[in-house]
């Protein structure tokens, strides 16, 4: 209990004293996770729409793969990306290993299946009639897809929040492909592991608290954005 208590005090201290190491790790965590989330969403939602409503051979097989990858152990994802990017690997010449880009790639492999899988489930359970309704009212396929995404916005939001949580909190992949280099690829989670190994439990706890706090704040912002899209859409006519 003593370590946890001291951790709280240390957390407040690190935050208020603008501790450079902590803020660097926080910045790296957010930058890497947000980029990974952005690319995953950009690719994941169109894929989700496709898998939710298109009919093609082998679709169930693809879905099974997606659902399996949703539970992809981060350290295995990290290992695969490591082997791809290592000097002797196929993408070795790009020199990406131990850079934030490598961590973004690793996190995409974790976030993308979550976004695809959860948006497929959300879109399927959203009233499918809405897509046909938009079409018969004269929408193009793109406009109908937007109408559908708007109907499923809560599920979409859930997908983004879950993917964010998975990505920012994982440590195995970040450690393997990032290398935990101070000032470059050290994130909140890899710093936390380091502090724990060195026996600085209060600093480790402090980092954990900061991580939770950041997740909490980002989730609040994402939820606000989710509600904002509904107000920008149909509901704006409501007085």
């Amino acid at each position: 209990m003593g370590d946890i208590g001291r951790g709280f005090v240390q957390a407040v201290h690190l935050i208020l004293s603008l501790d450079p190491g902590t803020y660097e790790a926080l910045g790296t965590s957010l930058r890497v996770t947000m980029s990974a989330l952005f690319w995953s969403a950009l690719a994941g939602f169109p894929l989700g729409i496709l898998l939710a409503f298109a009919h093609f051979r082998g679709k169930q097989g693809v879905m099974n793969v997606v659902y399996t990858l949703m539970g992809f152990p981060p350290v295995v994802a990290g290992l695969l990306v490591y082997l791809l990017l290592s000097r002797s690997g196929p993408l070795g010449p790009l020199g990406l290993l131990y850079t934030p880009t490598a961590m973004v790639i690793a996190q995409i492999t974790l976030a993308l299946p979550v976004i695809v899988g959860l948006s497929v489930l959300g879109l399927r359970s959203a009233d499918k009639g809405v897509f046909d309704l938009a079409l018969t009212l004269g929408a193009t396929r793109t406009q109908a897809s937007i109408a559908l995404l708007r109907e499923a916005r809560l599920a979409i939001l859930g997908a983004v929040i879950t993917a964010f949580g998975n990505a920012i909190s994982e440590v195995g992949a970040a450690m393997l492909v990032g290398g935990n280099i101070q000032g470059a690829t050290r994130t909140l989670t890899t710093a936390l592991v380091l502090e724990t190994r060195e026996g600085s439990f209060d600093r480790a706890i402090a980092l954990g608290i900061i991580l939770l706090l950041v997740s909490f704040l980002v989730n609040i912002i994402l939820s606000r954005l989710g509600e904002g899209t509904s107000e920008a859409g149909n509901v704006r006519h409501l007085d």
């Binding site: 046909d132 309704l133 079409l135 018969t136 004269g138 708007r150 509904s230 006519h237 409501l238």
Partner: protein, 261 residues
């Protein structure tokens, strides 16, 4: 009923299967311009599928459907092995915007009742103010104007059906498809719907295709009745002929309320 000169829809050899199950075997159907055509059929006869194909929401496997004088230069949709889905193809957008399909269980967008009606108008480039004005008028005609500002998910089944009618009144399509329109309506709502349908035919020169299993509704509103049975239109005739002097024995038995085996 207005003078019939041409057929607005001519379907030939329309075929549709879902997996191994052949739903429509070979549909030939003509829908005269400015008329109300009622397609009668038993449960699972493929009525809704046919309506969705004619309404360009779903592609057929084979066959052709010609829409006369709705849009220049793209009147015939030919289905075959390489057909793209007209519902999702930009090429058919103008044609699709001449028609509207009202579902049996009306889908609604989450949002206000009013925004559910303005959506289609705004897709067609109408200004927000004009769209609201026209939509309010449509909601008044459909009898749910007092619900305009409420959330559409609060509507009962019957009110949702009226919302569906309001959409049609606001968009004024040249061609209207109705799937079991009175299934969720009370007798008063049914009367209102049927009166509005006749009004749209007579005053707005609209053509309607209505799918139902309600013989009495067909008697009330149809100019022409088609009987869909086992994936084929086995009889298509003006209302009087259809009910009093059907050509096919199965039609006669269906009209008489006997079980078809």
């Amino acid at each position: 009923m207005s003078a019939i000169s041409t057929d607005l829809i001519t379907a030939r050899g329309v075929r549709k299967s879902f997996g191994a199950r052949e739903v429509l075997c070979s549909i030939d159907l003509s829908v005269p311009t400015g008329s109300i055509t009622v397609i009668l059929g038993t449960n699972g006869a493929g009525k809704t599928t046919l309506l969705r194909i004619l309404g360009l929401l779903e592609p057929a496997d084979e066959g052709t459907v010609t829409y006369d004088a709705l849009v220049p230069d793209m009147s015939t949709v030919t289905y075959g092995t390489s057909t793209r889905n007209p519902a999702q193809n930009q090429h058919y957008l103008l044609l699709r915007r001449q028609m509207l399909l009202a579902f049996q269980h009306p889908a609604i967008f989450s949002g206000s009742v009013l925004s559910n009606v303005t959506y289609g108008l705004q897709l067609r480039g109408m200004s927000h103010t004009d769209a609201e004005e026209r939509s309010m008028a449509a909601l008044r005609e459909a009898g749910i104007a007092e619900r305009a500002r409420q959330h559409a998910s609060s509507l009962s089944g019957g009110e949702a059906a009226r919302l569906s009618v309001a959409r049609a009144l606001a968009l004024q399509p040249r061609l209207l498809f109705l799937d079991e329109p009175s299934a969720s309506l009370d007798p008063y709502g049914t009367k209102l719907l049927e009166d509005l349908l006749l009004h749209m035919r007579d005053d707005l020169d609209m053509t309607a295709v209505v799918v139902t299993q309600d013989i009495f509704e067909a008697r009330r509103i149809a100019d022409q009745v088609a009987f869909l049975h086992e994936g084929r239109i086995i009889e298509q005739a003006p209302r009087e002929t259809f009910f009093t002097n059907p050509r096919d024995d199965r039609t006669r038995r269906f009209v008489a309320g006997e079980l078809l085996v």
